[in-house]
Subunit: 203 residues, 2 copies
């Protein structure tokens, strides 16, 4: 049972990958990139440290351009992040060999988040299972599990070596002469997983 | 990390218990009973077959009486099942030693189901984590996993030796001279887990 799991190297997507493997899935980590920066390499490093197979899927730069325009129009990144995530899920779901897709979205997330209607639409249009291991977990449960499992690096979004959509989106905004700090929340701490806390029992 | 998991012996609550144990929780199975029938014993049998510790918690018969009245008023069991489940979660959550509660409710369930507001209210009022391992899983994913893991017995609700709320609720309705078949859907197939498909690797 293979599952293709959207992976940024952060705590949430790492915890979701851990759960999927524990319950019997063969987990293939997928990092989305738009060919602008090589920021996918941080997710690859983390994937290797955790012992998962990892692949980069390159999406059309036009998607990121459209997302940047949304950021500028809204002065906020929510709609843009949601838009990119839906495109990413669709692009992976449409690959012929893919029967199951997953991500690390959580119960308490606002974006990216697929409601019931969008979830079923995704599954029906592409004949895939969409699995979200963290959907039934609150922030305290997720914090407790990730604290137990992972060695984590915590930095401000601007400084962290990360592989999520934000990194290339911020870069593209800067290219367009827009300061990302006028769009993204100011002190936005984000996390990157560096490895397992204890080696034993997690693989 | 102990979690108190509401358990009927069915596929969903068994799968949720399996996931919780796999990701590192010490799982305590709890079956709710109203002291009318000894229907809890089927869940206990299944719990033992799966190698989980199991406990029965007896709730006030008045809760079931109120639920029976709801069934009669609505000619449908949805509100009653929802009512009992919320009471059951609260009763377990309020126990002093309980820090985490869980159940087998699924993404595609209508009842019992706690929406975001009720979920947070439960967690806040009783200072517990409420964990739902199946919330991010669709029916195909759940079927695939339970088919792989469990030996299952499938029967009509009226005939199955089960431990869920319905069993005592149907009995109480009959006692009141009401035919449960006028309230519950007719050909309602339900499942009971008998054991692991293969012994290895699940414990």
């Amino acid at each position: 049972m293979e599952v293709y799991h959207l992976y940024s190297g952060g705590k949430d997507s790492s915890l979701a990958a851990y759960i999927l493997r524990k319950i019997g899935y063969e987990v293939k980590l997928i990092t989305i990139n738009f060919g602008i920066l090589d920021s996918w390499k941080y997710a690859k490093e983390t994937a290797e440290a955790l012992g998962f197979s990892h692949e980069v899927i390159f999406l059309d730069r036009g998607i990121l351009e459209e997302a940047a325009e949304m950021c500028i129009r809204d002065s906020h990144p929510s709609n843009a992040i949601q838009f990119i995530h839906e495109k990413a899920l669709e692009e992976v779901a449409k690959l012929r060999h893919v029967e199951r897709i997953s991500d690390g979205t959580r119960r308490d997330d606002r974006v990216p988040f697929l409601d019931q209607r969008k979830t079923r639409s995704l599954e029906d249009r592409f004949n895939v299972q969409y699995i979200r291991p963290l959907l039934g977990l609150g922030y305290r449960t997720i914090r407790e599990l990730t604290d137990k499992l992972f060695v984590v690096e915590l930095k401000e979004s601007e400084k962290l070596e990360k592989s999520d959509y934000e990194v290339e989106l911020r870069y593209l905004l800067r290219e367009k002469g827009i300061d990302p700090l006028t769009i993204f929340p100011k002190k936005h701490l984000q996390s990157r997983v560096l490895g397992w806390k204890k080696e034993k029992g997690h693989l």
